[in-house]
Symmetry: C2
Subunit: 241 residues, 2 copies
């Protein structure tokens, strides 16, 4: 029987936010893939090795899949990563692919997963703490209460950034366009909190738009909440938790 490919989220930075399952899968398996040309230099590795020091003794596969402008080249990289992993699956070894945050949200893992699933291998996703949950926790702020909708936008790719839906917004990876993003946030009259490098030693929390520097880092996450809760009315359904 072939081995299985696992896409495992290691959370956003704090090694204590790794799940018991992530820790167990790393411990129980010998082959670990990491998203970068030098496995030991990836953020996912640096997080996981703190919680599971024996990671350093494993077979580490460099699955380098940078997001680049050349679509064809990018596809080649995905195929290369899949080709790197496949022989281990064939030789009945599971491969644990570690990803930052959660493995279902904006993860490059799914490219490799698609290729290897098409080639007939079993795959499994294992949840990790998403960066936006951890950022909200670090800012000691509920992301969504009661019946507030929550909208997550990978802002970096959106030239037109509308913040016009009811509910709260999360803007991810706004770093490179921060000046424009700040302008939109000001227009929206929302309550803004930004967490930079969440859970890392250099973490920084900003509590107003004016405090946010225009040259904020890539791992910046903005929480933009409605100033007034439009949903604080009595619900028309009885539910219990």
């Amino acid at each position: 029987m072939n081995g299985k490919l696992y896409g495992v989220g290691v959370g956003p930075g704090d090694p204590e936010l790794m799940t018991l399952k992530a820790v167990r899968l790393i411990r129980e398996n010998q082959v670990i893939a990491l998203p970068g040309p030098v496995p030991e230099e990836t953020i996912a590795y640096r997080i996981a090795v703190q919680a599971v020091p024996e990671l350093a003794e494993k077979i580490l596969l460099p699955a380098a899949m940078p997001m680049i402008m050349d679509r064809k080249k990018m596809r080649e990289n995905h195929k290369k990563a899949a080709d790197l992993i496949e022989p281990y699956l064939q030789s009945q070894k599971n491969v644990i692919f570690l990803t930052l945050g959660d493995s279902t949200i904006y993860s490059t893992f799914h490219y490799v997963q698609d290729i290897l699933a098409d080639r007939g291998y079993d795959t499994e996703l294992v949840s990790g703490i998403p960066s936006f949950c951890a950022a909200a926790a670090r800012a000691n702020l509920p992301l969504a209460k009661w019946n507030e909708p929550l909208h997550i936008l990978p802002a970096i790719h959106r030239t037109e950034l509308a913040l016009d839906q009811p509910g709260n917004y999360i803007l991810m990876k706004s770093g490179s366009k921060m000046a424009q993003v700040k302008e939109r946030l000001r227009e929206s009259s929302r309550e803004v909190t930004m967490v930079e490098n969440c859970g890392m030693p250099e973490e920084k929390i900003y509590r107003s738009i004016d405090d946010i520097p225009d040259d904020a880092g890539y791992y910046s996450l903005i929480i933009a909440k409605e100033s007034k809760c439009h949903y604080a009315s009595v619900p028309n359904t009885i539910i219990t938790t």
Copy 2:
């Protein structure tokens, strides 16, 4: 010095999806609050006790805060829960309040947190795996790729359910209005997956609208993805992961 109040997510059901931090906080502290009239009968307890059996030996506080129609009565319940917890904080004990899923998203914890923070106590949120991440992982489905927005709606409270934004939708707690929700999903032409009782022994996954029963359970979570990805264009920014 007073004790500190922690709101700790235990994830959506599978005890292995608990974080190392949740496990440590339960182990290191004696007083654990649970959201229900009988602590041992809450889902949060049943999840956590499987990963941390010594939870059964702790002081368990019943912080019952059902969501009910009577707003005044609900506020009284929040105050009662806070009053139940406060003496332990005063006697320098931390209180670990366990919540299902993540503690920042649709958790009743923030009501108690607000009250006790106003009374001058330190509080901290500790992330857990949100139900929608775990549901996507169980369905082996990425929630959002590349630059797809992601919208999370607590559908039960929304009489008007629009699914007209670009990106993917998550509908939580649709159980009681499933027939209407299914109608809207059909109109939206989205690819629909529903996960019922995610991570629990009675978990069930539905891969099409037609398969979803009108009487689906309360812990049902719907993932409605755009049939075609409108965002698959080459990004105009080079980013690395």
